[in-house]
């Protein structure tokens, strides 16, 4: 039997609903229909009254979740696509994210964002918004890259007493498979060495972990040993693991699918430069999507985002300097 990244997300929600009576799911089409991606398939039937369709009102969906959290419940909000979370942005960053700091009452809500590009999805169903949420104090931002992490980190997210932005990559939903669900996991906030190497460190997260691993495999045939760090969590960001890796390799390439201005890759470069300048044998580099909306056509889309080929090319350049 094998389980996909999407099924892991469904299983984690089933598990949370089963184990914790405070959990409920609220989002567009999540009820009898099972969600646009089927991440809540059959859950409304298994857990009557706890998996509920919402109107198309992202602001009110998050506001309701905050009110329910104040009452001690643990809502999971499904955004149909991460892109539409911008309509609920105010409630996330100003209501949920400030509640604990202002009142000492914690706000345990999980907002699931199906995010990232897939071919043919175009400008409004492809966005990567993790950096925007990470910018705000008061939020935890998680970006699982594996089936195991999708499962264990979603369970962790529901248990965390603060608002969690759970970024699940749509490209991984169906393709990524694992034999079984994990029984234990790295703690949230700890990065993972996805591949060991000594010549160059690629720091990345979510779907780009797989592009980086493919690039590393390609470069291995040329004799290079590339280390790949999967951040897992954008906020908090595990600077220690990143710097320890750079200490081993002396070279840093940060790869992200989000837009280039600011963002996670810039943050990692800034931290490594500030705290580990002496460890670097070459200027740290970043590779991101292009600075345009995400294009629709597969030819354009494939050139817009980093791929294993462009990652390998960037790594080769850096290895030569």
């Amino acid at each position: 039997m094998s389980i996909t990244y999407l099924e892991a997300i469904r299983e984690a929600q089933a598990h949370a609903l089963r184990d914790d009576p405070r959990v409920f799911i609220y989002g567009q089409d999540v009820g009898a229909f099972g969600g646009a991606f089927k991440a809540t398939k059959n859950l409304a039937r298994e857990f009557p009254g706890r998996v509920l369709d919402s109107p198309i009102s992202e602001d009110a969906m998050v506001g309701l979740a905050v009110g329910a959290a104040i009452e001690g419940l643990r809502p999971i909000i499904e955004m149909q696509f991460a892109d539409f979370s911008t309509v609920g942005f105010n409630q996330i960053v100003n209501q949920a994210a400030t509640l604990f700091w202002r009142t000492q009452v914690s706000c345990p809500i999980t907002v699931r964002l199906p995010f990232g590009g897939t071919s043919g999805s175009g400008p409004f169903h492809s966005q990567s918004l993790e950096a925007i949420y990470a910018h705000y104090p008061g939020l935890i931002v998680l970006t699982p890259a594996t089936v195991e992490d999708a499962y264990s980190m979603l369970l962790a997210a529901v248990a965390i007493d603060d608002p969690v932005i759970f970024c699940e990559h749509k490209l991984l939903y169906y393709h990524l498979k694992s034999e079984k669900l994990p029984s234990e996991a790295l703690p949230v906030g700890k990065a993972r060495i996805a591949r060991e190497g000594r010549d160059l460190t690629i720091v990345t997260y979510s779907a780009m972990v797989h592009e980086a691993l493919a690039a590393a495999a390609e470069l291995a045939t040329e004799g290079w040993e590339i280390e790949v760090v999967d951040l897992r969590s954008i906020k908090p960001l595990d600077t220690d693991t990143v710097i320890a890796s750079v200490a081993r390799t002396g070279r840093l390439l940060c790869v992200g699918e989000a837009w280039p201005w600011g963002g996670v890759t810039a943050e990692v470069v800034a931290r490594v430069t500030a705290e580990g300048y002496g460890l670097l044998d070459a200027p740290p580099q970043r590779l991101n999507a292009k600075d345009t909306p995400v294009p629709y056509h597969p030819n354009l889309w494939a050139a817009h985002r980093p791929t294993s080929r462009s990652v390998a090319a960037a790594a080769r350049n850096l290895l030569r300097t």
Binding site: P55, G67, P137
Partner: protein, 343 residues
């Protein structure tokens, strides 16, 4: 679907007990005098940041507060000093929050009208207009899920906030979920300086209720007895399972948007119209005419309130200010997830 428009309020139907109008009046008076004190402290440079008063809106606000039980939910807005006191917020909370005392509910982290105790049903507003309504929905939704029945929730707004997307989303959401929400709109004719003609195009904001499928109540917000009656019946409708209630009160704010604003944009004709009546004076007249009280009582109550307010201010002025070196400087409750704490 019920849509009521109240005429002048009468005696007899105001509040649950004979003393209810007196209780309400005394709270209005305390709120008015508290606001006056904040205005004075502001002029004396003792308050950091904005000062937002509810002058002219006390009748509506107090009517909200006295219609609620302690176990209900209340999301007041900027002009609700009276409603807060009536709901049970200690007067000293307002003073501590305005003066930034470390002992206040917000401990200097937030100020002025941003204060409350979420777990006790008094939701601390964020500035973003319209944003509190769906939070009230969430509390009511969760209580229903937990099997708690019989409670209601109020969200207060100005007419300007009815133009936000958040207002629309939340009222629709409450209607879909049939939540016991009472949405109280103080139509004070101006949103900061913007007149109603630039804010909405319907004849009455209460007309919006039809589109959402909720009941509505319109009232003269300067009419003390009318406000008590209307709020009591709207709250009762929500409590007895008739779904969300939209209350629209027409009135005028008898002050600037904040104390920095002289409200020069409010035309004299409006000020001199019935909308510009002072609800506190209207209340006094009502109480006298209906023999609730003799005129000699008012001055005693006023002096008592002033003593209470002066004592609170004197106490808070001696309290410690927040200490930046004692701050934790983290916005999350899960300390193990603080940046730099990964291990």
């Amino acid at each position: 679907m019920l849509h009521t428009v109240s005429g002048p309020g009468s005696a007899g139907h105001v509040g649950s007990t004979a003393a209810a109008p007196l209780v309400a009046y005394r709270i209005m008076l305390r709120a008015r005098l508290l606001d006056d004190k904040f205005a004075a402290l502001s002029r004396a440079g003792k308050i950091h940041g904005g000062v937002f008063l509810g002058r002219g809106q006390e009748a509506l606000s107090v009517a909200v507060g006295v219609s609620l039980d302690k176990s209900d939910v209340f999301a007041p807005l900027i002009r609700d000093a009276a409603g807060r006191l009536a709901f049970g917020e200690p007067l000293i909370d307002a003073v501590r929050t305005y003066l930034g005392s470390a002992l206040g509910p917000m401990r200097g982290r937030d100020g002025n009208v941003h204060r409350g105790y979420p777990r006790e049903g008094l939701l601390p507003m964020i500035s973003h207009l319209g944003a509190m309504v769906s939070v009230v929905n969430g509390v009511l939704f969760a209580r229903r899920m937990k099997g708690i029945t019989g409670c209601v929730g109020v969200a207060c707004l100005g007419e300007g906030a009815t133009s936000t997307g958040a207002f629309h989303e939340a009222l629709n959401q409450a209607a879909v979920e049939k939540l016991p929400l009472i949405l109280v709109v103080a139509n004070n004719q101006f949103a900061y300086s913007t007149p109603n003609s630039r804010q909405f195009a319907c004849a009455s904001l209460a007309d919006k209720a039809v589109g959402y499928g909720v009941e509505s109540h319109s009232v003269d917000g300067t009419d003390f007895a009318g406000c008590l009656e209307t709020l009591s019946s709207a709250v009762n409708r929500a409590r007895t399972g008739h779904g969300p209630q939209l209350v629209v009160a027409n009135l005028l704010r008898l002050c600037g948007h904040g104390e920095h604003d002289d409200a020069h944009y409010i035309p004299t004709e409006i000020k001199n119209s019935p909308l510009g009546r002072d609800c506190l004076k209207v209340a006094e007249k009502f109480l006298l005419e209906h023999n609730y009280v003799g005129a000699d009582m008012f001055i005693g109550w006023r002096n008592e309130a002033i003593r209470e307010i002066e004592a609170a201010v004197a106490q808070v002025l001696r309290e410690a200010a927040p200490d930046p070196f004692a701050e934790e400087w983290t916005a999350i409750s899960s300390k193990y997830l603080m940046e730099g704490h990964a291990s």
